[in-house]
């Protein structure tokens, strides 16, 4: 869990925070804050011509400015960046991490894998969200700790999930970002209610979306899985030996799969079958 302080002069960001973070705990002024971030509209003459937004972490700007209408998305990306660059008490894996019946399921996110869509669908069907972007594997106890945030979806996935789950609550669609159209979905209640409950990793599943493919869960040799997963760990090189040990221990404990699927319904069946 992280304590964040956000400063912004952009109405859309305030609205985004109200919409998505209304149920998060508000800290007292005396509490320790881990990360100070600012999402500000670029001032001066720039305000009148193709206005832009900047993200700053304690005075440092990690990204080039973006069009102003992408401010809420920039806040989310920036916050991910800030966490990935400071939270080295964890091995941070770029993946979705969800839980059911006490089993943690990690789904690394290669582009085109459909990880985000799968994750969004699963958490609307009984799985608890710990994170849709970053699995925080504790170096101390080998458990994965939650950091639930709004779930980001792109392009076609947005409508797919809206169709899939009538109760899903979405923010507005931001068109034409570098990643396409983006929208955020509010994480189901269970995510925030159980945000202090870590999970024991049980399954590592690399999803592959393939048109017309047969649904298939294929066991993955663990040594190979370790090599591949290391590429998905943001801070693997920073942690050095500690990171390798944590990752090797985790791989040893979990079942590793390559998962091919062609549509959501059968995909959910396939994933659910793991915990039956």
């Amino acid at each position: 869990m992280f304590n964040i302080a956000v400063a912004s002069n952009i109405f859309a960001v305030a609205r985004h925070l109200k919409h998505f973070y209304a149920d998060y705990t508000v800290n007292d002024s005396g509490d320790f804050t881990d990360l100070y971030v600012e999402v500000k509209a670029v001032g001066g003459l720039r305000r009148f011509y193709k206005p832009q937004v900047t993200f700053t972490f304690d005075g440092y700007e990690p990204f080039a400015p973006l069009p102003l209408n992408q401010a809420p998305a920039m806040f989310e990306w920036g916050l991910n960046w800030a966490i990935a660059n400071t939270a080295h008490q964890y091995l941070i894996i770029h993946s979705a991490i969800i839980e059911k019946d006490g089993y943690g399921l990690i789904m690394p996110g290669t582009p085109g894998s459909g990880k985000s869509t799968l994750c969004a669908a699963l958490i609307n069907r009984g799985w608890r969200l710990l994170s849709d972007e970053m699995a925080l594997l504790s170096l101390d106890d080998g458990l994965i700790y939650p950091a639930p945030r709004p779930v980001s979806l792109k392009n076609k996935s947005i409508q797919i999930i809206k169709d899939f789950s009538a109760e899903a609550v979405f923010g507005e669609v931001v068109p034409d970002t570098l990643k396409g159209d983006i929208a955020h979905m509010v994480a189901p209640e269970s995510a925030l209610l159980q945000q202090s409950t870590p999970v024991k990793p049980a399954f590592l599943v690399f999803p592959h979306y393939q048109d017309n493919a047969e649904k298939q869960l294929k066991q993955l040799p663990k040594a190979r899985a370790l090599m591949t997963l290391a590429e998905h760990a943001f801070n693997f090189n920073i942690l050095g030996e500690e990171g390798f040990d944590a990752m090797a221990n985790m791989i040893d404990q979990v079942e590793c799969y390559d998962f091919t699927y062609a549509d959501l319904a059968t995909a959910l069946e396939g994933i659910d079958s793991l915990v039956k």
């Binding site: 304590n3 320790f32 804050t33 881990d34 100070y36 304690d58 005075g59 440092y60 080039a64 400015p65 400071t86 939270a87 080295h88 008490q89 090189n237 920073i238 942690l239 050095g240 500690e242």
Partner: protein
């Protein structure tokens, strides 16, 4: 003004060995972390806390930040060792000797200035004669000159008499190859050969050197007070503070430092270094040595007072928790000044205009 910056106070306490007396429960850790992160000193501060076995006295939440920042500097040190070994392998095959400079040198040689030190590029010094062979050897082993535009390449080679930084294809790390310690187009002309004469050879790595402790102080001083990059000003002052405390081991070493600065024609930056290290971090430099250095630098009282004011403002940590009036302007003036020191005037204006243009149109690398 500088006196109430938390980072400065902390470093002074470390230097005076009074760090253990702070009130660990009440201390504003959050502000210290934010300020020191901003000036790239978080890892160093964390290192000091660990060194003095005080980390456990820090409350848990801030403690995690300190521990994590040590992981960063440890990773940096590991990567630096890999780099230096690879550079050594490439250059020794071509029989090119080199001197390690700055961060990489501190970490490799184990001096105090390497504690919690973060750095990106590896800086090395070769002789002017071996520069082409060095460039070839590096290119042969996987480093390449990044695709800088033609103007910048020309700027480096013809006007500044340097080669552009080289980046390793696989590791994406950068080595900066110098043949002088300040740009050859500067007014001051320290003779690099003199540095070589006093350089220390590294065991088991024939052809690899680091500067002598006194020369490390002089080089660090020159880099800070000549180059104009004050964003990391306090970090550089901290380096100087540690280099001076460790390098000047006896009374006569002070005079040796002054003599050597004179010999290298670098008295002015060394004067500033001694003056500001003393003023900001209370480095134990005798008043009389500072006075002697100022006299040797031949600066008038008025200009020394003005530089005093400019540097004090510029060196302060730029952070919302520690605003300093006039800092932006002071840094700007010093930036212009450092370019003036580095380049003849007829080169200066076109170069600065181009840099501003690149920055304002959002093109990053300049």
């Amino acid at each position: 003004m500088l006196d109430d910056h938390l980072v400065v106070q902390f470093l002074r306490d470390y230097g005076q060995e009074t760090l253990h007396t702070i009130n660990f429960m009440e201390y504003p850790w959050e502000t210290l972390i934010r300020q020191s992160r901003r000036v790239n000193l978080l890892s160093r501060i964390a290192f000091f806390l660990r060194e003095l076995e005080l980390l456990d006295s820090v409350p848990e939440q801030p403690r995690i930040h300190f521990i994590n920042s040590i992981k960063l500097s440890d990773a940096n040190a590991r990567s630096a060792k890999v780099e230096v070994k690879a550079i050594h392998k490439a250059l020794s095959a071509a029989e090119v000797d080199f001197v390690l400079l700055k961060g990489a040198a501190y970490v490799w040689s184990g001096v105090d200035a390497g504690k919690g030190r973060l750095f990106t590029d590896t800086d090395i010094l070769v002789t002017k004669e071996t520069l082409p062979a060095a460039e070839r050897a590096l290119a042969h082993n996987g480093w390449f000159t990044s695709s800088l535009d033609r103007y910048t390449q020309q700027f480096y080679r013809e006007w500044m008499h340097e080669i552009p930084p080289m980046t390793h294809l696989k590791r994406q790390t950068t080595v900066d190859v110098h043949h002088t310690i300040i740009p050859p187009t500067s007014r001051l002309k320290p003779k690099p050969t003199k540095l070589w004469q006093q350089a220390d050879a590294m065991q088991n790595m024939p052809g690899l050197f680091v500067l002598s402790p006194i020369d490390m102080i002089i080089h660090s001083a020159t880099h800070l007070f000549h180059e104009g990059e004050f964003d990391q000003g306090l970090r550089d002052i901290s380096d100087l503070d540690l280099l001076i405390r460790q390098g000047v081991v006896s009374e006569d070493k002070w005079q040796e430092l002054l003599n050597r600065s004179e010999e290298l024609d670098l008295v002015k930056p060394v004067y500033y270094a001694l003056n500001f290290s003393y003023k900001i971090l209370h480095t134990p430099v005798p008043d009389e040595i500072i006075a002697r250095a100022r006299k040797l630098s031949k600066m008038s009282y008025v200009s020394s007072k003005m530089m005093d004011m400019l540097f004090s403002r510029a060196l302060a940590t730029k952070h919302e928790t520690s605003p300093v009036k006039g800092q932006g302007f002071a840094r700007f003036l010093l930036y212009i000044r450092s370019h003036w020191l580095k380049m003849p005037v007829h080169l200066l204006i076109p170069h600065l205009c181009r840099k501003s243009w690149l920055r304002l149109t959002g093109q990053k690398d300049h």
